[in-house]
């Protein structure tokens, strides 16, 4: 179904909930299913999500795209709920449903008025074990996935460039895989591959049920037991946390495509909260990103876009919540009169300044103010609350980590940021992609 693939590049940087309008509970069934319930009584609605710890970072060379294709097939029927009926049923009861796949997880959600919760859980429990995986349906659906790939990636210069960039920047771990899969792998994919993938990874002890909304934890507990408890646990493959080869060396890629806009992609190999030897590195990198490029008053915007006018636009990202090593990225479009090399040199100069120049306390305070405000703003939507919880649990952290995250960020000093810049933002950790437009030949309108 729809991939709302979350590129970490543009992903929000999740942070904790300093002001709680809600209470959160967690428990585990005997079969290993983890359940997290947040009671948020603002409105009589509920979101129920099942998150599986499986995604493109688990996939092998030659079979990329399996997790996402399986996500599509999860809407193609069980014995109880034949193909085409899942979404009709949800719609009939006034709900919305969909799913998304990313590198570390696959998640399914149903959003309803709160009286529908039992049905949501029964449907999810049913497709956790009873998926039909019919070959004819698969042959039809893989065509849809290919159209999705053409639409999102192949006909989109920036989508294509990003896919190349990621596969070079995360060179030595499967986190490099495009979530939608390389087209050649989609062409080779068989229904049996999906069946194996489903049998291996779709198990209660590899899943988290997240329920957020106007519900009571006791009700959820009773329903979770009723529908999920009889699904047996199974032995899961032993998978190590993806760790990149340290200081692997500077990488550069030049990509010429029919396009109009030149783009620069810079990435540094950095740890996430799951892979860091010292979590303080992660907090420091998170604050570093804020000083560098969070908001219009941050350094890259104020100095390179507004003051020196070398960049037309710039965007940065770092998600500390990943399974294994990750990237800190900066993407930029050079301003008129400047080349991709000029843009890169200017950004690197700002990065080097973080290693030598003083950072003011005001800069840190401002970054922190933004993080605290976003903690509150993100509670406005029950879905975004559930997404935060599910993502944390799925990458091997706890939703509670979110509660501590802001407090940990507050301990970071300007000296910590300087050290993190010196340690991590070095050439041997760096990947550059330059997207250079070639002639885009477009006809006359007829």
């Amino acid at each position: 179904m729809v991939v709302m693939r979350k590129h970490w590049l543009f992903a929000l940087l999740w942070s904790p909930l300093s002001v709680m309008a809600a209470t959160t509970h967690e428990f585990r069934l005997d079969n290993g299913l983890k359940v997290v319930v947040r009671e948020d009584q603002r409105s009589p609605v509920v979101v129920a999500q099942v998150w599986y710890k499986i995604g493109s970072s688990y996939e092998q060379f030659g079979s990329t795209g399996l997790s996402h294709a399986l996500e599509h097939m999860m809407f193609k029927g069980t014995a109880k709920v034949p193909t085409g009926e899942f979404s009709r049923l949800v719609s009939h009861l006034g709900g919305e449903d969909n799913a998304f796949t990313a590198s570390d997880y696959t998640a399914y959600y149903q959003l309803y008025s709160n009286t529908r919760l039992p049905l949501a859980l029964e449907l999810e429990a049913d497709r956790m074990v009873n998926l039909t995986l019919d070959e004819t349906e698969f042959k039809q659906e893989i065509k849809v996935v290919m159209e999705e790939r053409r639409q999102r990636t192949d006909d989109n210069p920036q989508g294509l460039a990003f896919e190349r960039f990621q596969s070079l920047a995360l060179l030595t771990t499967p986190s490099r895989n495009p979530t939608i899969g390389w087209m050649s792998d989609l062409n080779n994919m068989k229904i049996d591959d999906l069946r194996r993938w489903y049998q291996t990874w779709y198990a209660p002890n590899n899943a988290t049920l997240v329920v957020v909304g106007d519900v009571k934890v006791d009700e959820v507990k009773q329903l979770a037991n009723q529908y999920f408890a009889q699904i047996p646990a199974q032995t899961l493959p032993n998978i190590a946390v993806p760790k990149e080869v340290p200081l692997i060396g500077e990488r550069q890629l030049s990509l010429e495509l029919p396009a109009k806009v030149a783009n620069l992609y810079l990435g540094f190999n950095v740890p996430s909260l799951t892979s860091a030897q010292n979590p303080k590195d992660v907090y420091a990198l998170r604050m570093l990103l804020g000083v560098l490029d969070e908001g219009l008053s941050a350094r890259l915007e104020s100095r390179l876009v507004r003051e020196k006018r070398i960049l037309s636009a710039v965007n940065s990202g770092y998600s500390p919540f990943k399974r294994g090593d990750t990237l800190l990225t900066i993407t930029a479009i050079p301003a008129e009169g400047y080349s991709l090399d000029d843009a890169k040199a200017a950004i690197l100069a700002e990065i080097n300044a973080l290693k030598t120049e003083a950072i003011s306390d005001d800069e840190l305070k401002k970054v922190y103010a933004g993080i605290l405000a976003d903690d509150v703003f993100s509670q406005d939507s029950i879905s975004s609350q559930a997404n935060q919880i599910g993502m944390m649990e799925s990458v091997g952290l706890s939703w509670r980590t979110l509660d501590e995250f802001s407090a940990n960020l507050k301990t970071i000093t300007t000296e910590d940021i300087r050290q993190a810049a010196q340690q991590w933002l070095v050439p041997a950790n760096m990947t550059t992609l330059q997207l250079k437009p070639t002639a885009l030949v477009v006809g006359e309108v007829k």
Binding site: S87, S91, G94, L123, E148
Partner: protein, 461 residues
């Protein structure tokens, strides 16, 4: 090409128009019996409203659960007011926070960001929208409202920023030039609306942007950013007295002025028209539609309900079933009505691999024709109503969704009981009304088709 055509028609006659089979799972799911008759609970949303002393309409909902406040100001100053300077409203939206009579760009961004507040401004065809979101603590809220008001009412449009903003807008133009879907949308509005102010893209064109001067920005701002042309919507944990103060503070910064005049009526296409742009993409983007619906049209509910069945309702819709689920032709196909101040468009769009674009186009046209001819069944109507009514609580479950309703209600002069009477208005829709309304508003022989890609050839006439 002929072969594909006849094949498509044959497939149609095999598969289509059969009544949806009942959902067989209903009888097999334990929980269904329990949940099916449960009433749909509703959040009670108490809308307060008033007019500020110099004429800005204000709508307010108190929501105390989270310590935050949203303020939205809407002006009837979208790109439909650009005149011949296409992109004018859009450049105003980009220039507002570049400086005021008392604050520099850096001071503005720091003022918002020091307290974690977020500000944005955007111009659409009808609306010019300014948004502020801020924590409601009394040491944050007043600062944020003050800077927001300054940026809205007293922008200085500094020369030094204008050049940079202009160049950034040109990069935006280039990004749209490399996107086949953006090209399809631009061509669709251009050829559908002809001389009407909805015809040009809100972001203008590379050439028209060059004609715009700082004086144009000032003139536009002076004319349209006035209290009588404004709607203010506020949601958050403040009481009505405080909300009233905020609305007065915002409104008092504006001249009283006059509401923008009504837009001219759209001249419909006299006959069907197909425009094609050869574009080096793997997919062809197809957009079909017609200019038809004003926001105050009484047929809106019937069209909305009917469109859920045709192509608005996602996976259950006729178009999605026929093109995606049965044939794997596309990742998604959708139809929608966009009611606006003047006649907004009905649009169907999708993208598909070039080789099968003609097949997809033929399928859409036949399904639309058949839908207009046969209308909908009672069963389809009930299914659409179940979904629309059942999902209503979702659409008012967050402060941001309530804010969006308040903004539209104010801007389009919808009655204040719009949310309360929603269920009844939907429930009243009949199959006959749907059929009549669709036939009245849509005519395939007067529709515009736009294709961008390599997959369709336009017949020479």
């Amino acid at each position: 090409m002929k072969k594909i055509l006849s094949l498509a028609v044959m497939m149609l006659s095999l598969h289509s128009y059969a009544e949806d089979a009942p959902i067989t799972a209903l009888g097999k799911l334990d929980s269904y019996q329990n949940v099916k008759n449960a009433a749909t609970p509703r959040r009670s949303i108490a809308i307060e409203h008033w007019q500020t002393t110099n004429g800005a309409k204000t709508l307010f909902v108190q929501a105390d659960e989270l310590p935050m406040v949203d303020v939205r100001v809407l002006f009837n100053a979208g790109s439909a007011r650009d005149g011949d300077k296409f992109g004018l409203a859009s450049l105003v939206s980009r220039m507002l926070d570049e400086g005021t009579t008392t604050r520099t760009t850096d001071q503005i961004s720091a003022s918002f960001e020091n307290i974690g507040a977020s500000f944005s401004a955007s111009a659409y065809r009808d609306m010019f929208v300014l948004d502020l979101r801020v924590l409601s603590q009394e040491d944050y809220l007043p600062t944020a409202v003050e800077v927001f008001t300054d940026v809205m009412a007293r922008p200085s449009f500094p020369e030094v920023a204008f050049k940079r903003i202009f160049e950034g807008a040109q990069v935006g133009q280039q990004q749209r030039q490399q996107s086949p879907s953006a090209q399809a949308s631009i061509l669709f509005y251009q050829h559908l609306y002809g001389e009407h102010p909805y015809a040009h893209p809100s972001h203008g064109t590379p050439d028209t942007l060059k004609k715009i001067t700082i004086d144009d920005l000032k003139q536009f701002h002076q004319q349209y950013f006035v209290a009588n042309n404004a709607t203010i919507a506020i949601v958050g944990n403040i009481n009505a007295v405080r909300a009233q103060q905020i609305s007065e503070q915002i409104s008092q910064a504006l001249a009283t002025g006059q509401a923008a005049p009504a837009l001219t009526k759209v001249t419909p296409l006299a006959k069907a028209l197909h425009k094609h742009l050869a574009f080096p993409s793997q997919q062809t983007h197809i957009t079909i539609g017609q200019a038809t619906l004003r926001r105050d049209n009484p047929d809106y509910e019937a069209l909305y309900v009917g469109n859920e069945i045709l192509g608005g309702g996602g996976f259950g819709s006729i178009l999605m079933k026929e093109l995606r689920e049965k044939r794997g032709l596309t990742y998604g196909v959708y139809s929608s009505f966009a009611p606006m101040q003047a006649e907004g468009p009905f649009i169907i769009n999708l993208s598909t691999r070039n080789e099968q674009a003609q097949e997809a186009l033929t399928l859409i046209r036949s399904h639309l024709k058949e839908f207009l001819k046969t209308g909908i069944t009672e069963q389809q109507l009930q299914a659409a109503k179940d979904n629309i009514l059942g999902s209503f609580p979702l659409s008012t479950s967050s402060n941001s969704s309530i804010l969006a309703y308040l903004g539209s209600m104010g801007f389009y002069n919808l009655p204040l009981d719009y949310l309360d009477s929603f269920n009844q208005r939907i429930n009243n829709v009949t199959t006959e009304q749907v059929k009549t309304a669709f036939r009245k508003h849509l005519n395939p022989d007067k529709m515009l088709t736009v294709t961008v890609g390599q997959g369709v050839t336009v017949a020479k006439k």
